[in-house]
Amino acid sequence: MDNLLWLIPALPLVGAMLLILIGNLLPKTYVAIIGVGSITISAIVVLLTGYSFLSSPPEGGQLTQTLWVWFEVANFKPEITLYLDSLSLVFIFVITFIGALIHIYSAGFMAEDKDYSRFFACMNLFVFSMLILVLADNLLLLYLGWEGVGLCSYLLIGFWHESHANGYAARKAFIITRIGDTAMAIGLFILFYQFGTLSINGILQSAPNLWPVGSAIATATALLLLAGGAGKSAQLPLQTWLPDAMAGPSPVSALIHAATMVTAGVYLIARMHVIFELSPAAQMTVAVIGAATLFIAGFSALTQHDIKRVLAYSTISQIGYMFLALGVGAYSAAIFHFMIHAFFKALLFLAAGAVIEALHHEHSMFRMGGLKDKLPVVFWTFLIGCASLAALPLISSGFYSKDQILWYSWAAEGGDAILWVLALSGAFITAAYTTRMMILTFWGESKTEIGHKPGKLMTIPLVVLAFFALFAGFIELPHNFGHFTLFSDLLHPVLPETRLGESETNEWIFQLVAATVTLGGISLAYYFYYKQPQRLSNLRSSGAFNRIYDFWLSGWGFDKIYDTLIVKPVVYLANINRRDIIDQIYNAITSGTTALYRLLSFTQSGSLRWYVMGLIVGAILILTIQIML
């Protein structure tokens, strides 16, 4: 099975290429078979590979497959090599398995769309790029995947390009992530320059010998990589693109902007954890960014009207938890939360997509309601997703993954009380906005008539995902009850175990507090949105409350800040500089080369005499140089 590794990214690539080349000529059924089939087979190959990887672990817990060497010139030798260890195994499992479910869902969801084949071509290409990103053995290939997912994200956010707003959202996502990408590229150049190799493993092995702990270069590199990760994963201060990215179709949001691409930053930091451990300052920054992001995004989610924007802010906030875990050194907790989050958030996006589709593209939760009985499958699966997101104690997988992070944010070596308080308040808000979303969408009176109900293609993936959202958490149980550590055992060959701080902490108390806080959040939302909606209206009539509400609604005014601080000045300067001064340089180059062209063209007179003269002058020139020297 080991030699099948290359098939995993190859299949989606073949699918994408087929669809790009001949997709327009094929009927929709065939397009769906190619688009969905390629990912499904790839997922099966992943399961086979994973099975053989787990049942007979390869030597050193890693598996490399060199497909070919691109070229080998003067010690520069970029290889096309895939690398599989337990970290990338978790990622490829999530990418292909959830990817396949989302593709199946899309076959139903996009059935009426005229650009059916373009959609699947982009989706397949995305899965390919994402797989390359996580399977890359060297920086070059990693970067190829990194840019590839960015491109596909751009193409899919702006998928319905007839509307200007969608095009704007796509550009915004592309440009803002590009800021991070540029930083990351510089970081990768530093790594290549310092270590003289592209191989990630080679770099990680020699880094501790070459760079002392806390050295400036380690910090700089780690921070540059962090900027790349923050851009892709929509963390502070580059988080503003994700809510707008919801302009894409719902399956795109589920796949790219919830389950996979936005967690690329988490993958990058986990993969490069050695560099981060060499710089405690950078690692602390990761934790602080994570904690701040989860807090800020949580409040924004609390006030959104658009169901997908709630989920978008919630995604930002949940990835904040993962960053927090990475920052305090709880790597396997971060990856565990990544996996569980991928299940329930993909589920929530798909279910939300089904609701939106059923309500004639209605996005506002305030015009939904009363769907509990009308869309029973969507209701139950959404409920399970919400339970997991809110981390409902004991019965949801979200509880097990988030509880670990909460505990580590205090108890781990890098943790402290402030991080814990932020994370805990985040949990409270999460529970509150999740309950609010659930109540507004499914309870109360019906405000919009539903159109057609989702078909089997759409409901089956929901049910499967709901199953995992409910039970996937049980593969890793806390130390104090169960102490079942299947997942972290799997990861430990790659990621170091979490070191606990010196002070004794009692895990029971933390769990109790976390559970209480979650239940508190749920009851708060229950009180204001179900029991006493009147109270909320009363509150909203006060000015101060409204100002805070609007502030949160606008995502803490980040868009406005960036607009004032960056966009406006740039546009202003651009306006002053309408006849670009710097352009003059380029214009000079253009006119210079054109003038040279004109001058040289005179020599091309077509006259034979002239050409003979040219030969003679050339000969004289050569002889002169020889005699002069």
Binding site: V73, Q604, G606, Y611, L615, G618, I622
Partner: protein, 479 residues
């Protein structure tokens, strides 16, 4: 001559024999179709024989000829180029009023001349090969004698080639005067025994460079290029751009390696000036050009300038770099001229850039093929041209020739403009020029297109997975 001499020479003997055979076939009045197909087979056989005879390398036939990995690779490359030209020729020539049959005889002879250059180790064989090649080319260039440009191009080439041959001969004479031998290796040995390089020798070298520079169309002997490219029939232009230059470049490299010309600072200076000027002048002249054949002519000047960047340092990877670059350049150029040939009509070649307007919307496959070859010429990653250029740059930088490398990069940027310009024109959606369908020979038309598509795949393959070829080239040596 011994049996093994014949064995080693078999590709060349096959080429020579083929020309006689084709002449006989013409004499018995066989149709163009049969002649074209049989010459295709003969080319294929001689190509195969280069592979077949590789087991006796290295081999010498003193004092004239030498066979080693490099020469055999270049020979194969030349024959392969002629084979592709041959495939393209049927559709092109069949509709012209001139009888196309004798064309194939000349094609064999020119190929033979170029191959002789590639294996020569002596001034006599060098000059013999050159003349076999050049005399054939005079006729090939002016083959469509009904066209105005054709005769003009033929006469221009005749006068200039004769003129430059005179320089070449005079240079050889001067070197012979000084060293008393015409064998490359012996010249090299003589030089090693003297302390100061005699002036007469250096002068002779300079004179030879005029002749060689003319054939390779490098600055300042480049001026004929565009006129001759434009005036020749499109398949012949493809031949001039590839096969005719390959042999010359190979012999130049061998000669300089034997006399260790790379140790003379004068030579390095001259070659550097020539290389820099060729890169700049070639790319600048192509900049606003509206004739595709002329664009490709100027671009060839620049590309041979690039080749000199790998040539001058003469280090460990020079040979590999040059071999790879020639391979990628030949395949790419053949593809580009192939499209020009296929789009040509009875009266004129498809040389005006307006003919390519909106080509993509009419002939998507042809447009994609031309796009790939333009990208490869421009050196965009994932094409053969990128790897070739990277190789050349690596060779230049390893030798410490920073100025050459910088000029290479800068002039490539200029070059990008006109390559991309052709691509944008093909994809523009304006009113497109009417392109007359070639219904006359659908079979041959499809075969030619298929050949070009295969070449395109090779371009991409060399860009994505060049390692196999690089390994092969790395095994070549020069003895």
């Amino acid at each position: 001559m011994s049996a093994s001499d014949f064995y080693a020479l078999s590709p060349l003997l096959l080429l020579a024999g083929s020309s006689v055979l084709i002449m006989l076939l013409i004499a018995v009045r066989l149709s163009h179709r049969i002649i074209q197909i049989s010459s295709l087979l003969l080319f294929a056989i001689s190509l195969y024989s280069t592979v077949f005879t590789a087991d006796i390398l290295p081999y010498r036939i003193p004092p004239l000829l030498i066979f080693d990995g490099f020469s055999s690779f270049i020979t194969a490359l030349i024959i392969f180029s002629s084979l592709v030209v041959n495939i393209l020729s049927y559709v092109y020539f069949d509709e012209k009023e001139e009888s196309p049959k004798e064309y194939y005889v000349l094609l064999f002879l020119c190929t033979l001349g170029s191959c002789v250059l590639a294996i020569s180790n002596h001034f006599v064989s060098l000059f013999l090969g050159l003349e076999i090649l050049t005399v054939g080319l005079y006729a090939l260039i002016a083959y469509l004698r009904g066209r105005n440009h054709s005769i003009e191009a033929g006469v221009k080439y005749l006068v200039l080639a004769a003129f430059s041959s005179a320089f070449l001969l005079f240079g050889m004479a001067l070197i012979y005067l000084e060293t008393g031998t015409m064998n490359f290796s012996e010249i090299g040995e003589r030089l090693r025994t003297v302390d100061n390089i005699p002036v007469i020798f250096i002068t002779g070298l300079g004179m030879m460079l005029v002749g060689v520079g003319f054939k390779l169309a490098i600055f300042p002997f480049h001026m004929w290029t565009a006129d001759i490219y434009q005036g020749s029939p499109a398949p012949v232009t493809a031949f001039i751009a590839t096969a005719s230059k390959g042999g010359m470049f190979a012999v130049l490299f061998r000669f300089f390696a034997s006399i260790q010309g790379f140790n003379f600072p004068e030579i390095i200076t001259i070659l550097s000036v020539v290389a820099i000027a060729s890169m700049l002048v070639g790319n600048l002249l192509a900049l606003r050009q509206n004739n595709v054949k002329r664009i490709l002519a100027y671009s060839s000047i620049a590309h041979f300038g690039y080749l000199f960047v790998a040539f001058i340092p003469r280090n460990a990877i020079s040979l590999e770099a040059i071999s790879f670059y020639l391979l990628s350049y030949f395949i790419t150029t053949l593809t580009a001229f192939g499209i020009v040939t296929l789009l040509s009509v009875r009266e004129t070649d498809a040389e005006d850039i307006g003919r390519y307007k909106a080509l993509f919307w009419q002939h998507p496959i042809l447009a994609c093929v031309l796009t790939a070859s333009m990208l490869s010429l421009a050196g965009i990653p994932l094409t053969a041209g990128f790897i070739g250029k990277f190789y050349v740059l690596a060779a230049g930088l390893q030798g410490g020739f920073w100025l050459l490398a910088i000029i290479l990069v800068l002039s490539s940027v200029i070059g990008l403009y006109y390559y991309l310009r052709i691509i944008t024109i093909m994809f523009s959606k304006e009113e497109h020029a009417e392109i007359i369908e070639k219904k006359a020979h659908p079979g041959f038309y499809v075969a030619s297109s298929a050949a070009l598509v295969i070449l395109t795949f090779v371009i991409l393959l060399l860009g994505i997975y060049p390692d196999a070829v690089i390994k092969l080239l790395g095994g070549f040596s020069m003895s």
